[in-house]
Amino acid sequence: MIEIAVELPLAPFELRVAVRLGDGVTAIMGPSGSGKTSLLEAVAGLRPRARGRIALDGIVLLDTQSGVRLRPERRRVGYVPQGAGLFPHLTVMGNVRFAARGAGSRVRAAIESLELAPLLDRYPATLSGGEQQRVALARSLASDPRLLLLDEPLAALDVALRERFVPYLLRVHDEWKVPVLYVTHNVGEALDLAEAVLLLRTGTVEAHGPALDLLSRPAMARAAEAGIENLRHGRIVAHDDQGGTTRVQLDDGQALAVPLSSSRLPGEAVNLAIRAEDVLLAVEPLRGLSARNIIEARIVTLDRVGPDALLRCRAASASGSEPRPWLVRITPSAVDSLGLVSGQRVWLAIKSHSVRLL
């Protein structure tokens, strides 16, 4: 449980945020200049003018009324700023063990989690944006934080790298059990990563709630245009050189035909992405269609996202306790003319060329 009740004067307005956040991943969203980064810095202890109260699981970091203001080095709050903020004069190893010169096991675990072993002797200037973000994340984890603050970790990455980084973030949250506050502009990312969304506008909380509930809000609609994607993890099954496709089995059991990628070995793990607007939807079984992938599913929710409709559909064949839904983005007129409602049986068609291997 993270309690935040802070006030911080900023140039054009005052940041005033009073929320209680859960221990999962909370996405902080809102237009540029709405105070997202300032909020993270106040929590990290880098804003001396912040007033109010901040507590983590009952441990008070800031309470100006009773005169408590823990210095940043005493807060155990990991902060990954925009652009990673690596120390350029230290190697990857030097960066990762910066905080924990004694605690070798945490350093080793962080290096393993983020797969940094091949990079340890490199200097930050020689790393790609995605690699820098992984190093910054490992550096924070090695300091044994009680809370992780990530400021747009994916903003500087192009789409392909971005999607390759998401699995690391999910793994960090699962393996290290650290609550995460995560600034992003990307609704797709928020859906993928966050349980809750905190929406800021000119320094105040405009909305706070489960990620999906907020998507129907007009304020989110513009951000949603950035693109919503289905991100999936799976394994290569086989290559069909004649047919020009590679067969992939997703973690939930679903098989997919994707463009031929013969450089990957059968059994190899892959991440793939399909845009929500690249998924076709039919209300009857499909025949005689060129699309190689047809998935029988059921509509779970139907929301308005800006000018479009966003559907979440559960595949009939999906196994596992909580299979990830397929996100489908279509026009409201398609919803009307097909008479779509939640619970309805549908067939999703995905061209193999709409699937991008990451």
Partner: protein, 226 residues
Amino acid sequence: MLTAADLAVVAFTLRIAALGTVLIIGPGIAVALALARYRGPGKSILETLLSLPLVLPPTAVGMLLLSVLARRGLLGRWLDAAGIQVVFTWKAVLLATMVMAFPLLVRSARTAFEEVDPRLDGLARTLGCGPTAAFFRVTLPLAWRGIVGGTVLAFARALGEFGATVMIAGNIPGRTQTLALAIFQASQVGRDDRATTLAGVTVLIAFMTLWTAEWLTRRRNRRVAT
């Protein structure tokens, strides 16, 4: 060739320049850091005052120092009472070189500190460093090149200081005479051979100084850049 007197001048000059440089490194870094981080009123006035010795004629600086340090001057009165003689001694040489070299060191070091991303200091704090540790582990190493550069410039300036020195320390062979002063005196009395030899020695020392600085910063650079 170099006589014993020449060697003494060279040794005296090197000692004074080295001591003066070492004495201003600490305060110079502190002032540079303060200027780089300070964002309050009077910042530009402060910066201008500190850079003033760079543009004033050294003899004017020497004159000001002299008026402060003279027996009836602001500081001189107090020094005289304590029985400390500064003017026309090696201490005056040291003081003149320090005053003239200080702004050069501060200027380079300040630019170097300003070029260090200020967020890195805060990040080091979130990673468990106190303010002092953050300075020594992050800010200082990142500003290293500029500080070395500034130190070398300061040392070179100290080696060549003439105007302020001659005003407050005079040109007393064996007591306050540095290379620059000895070259001037030799040429004044028609000893051109001696003046040329001493000038050659000066060139050599200056070359070694700059080359060492280049080597120091180059070695460090190779690891960071590419």
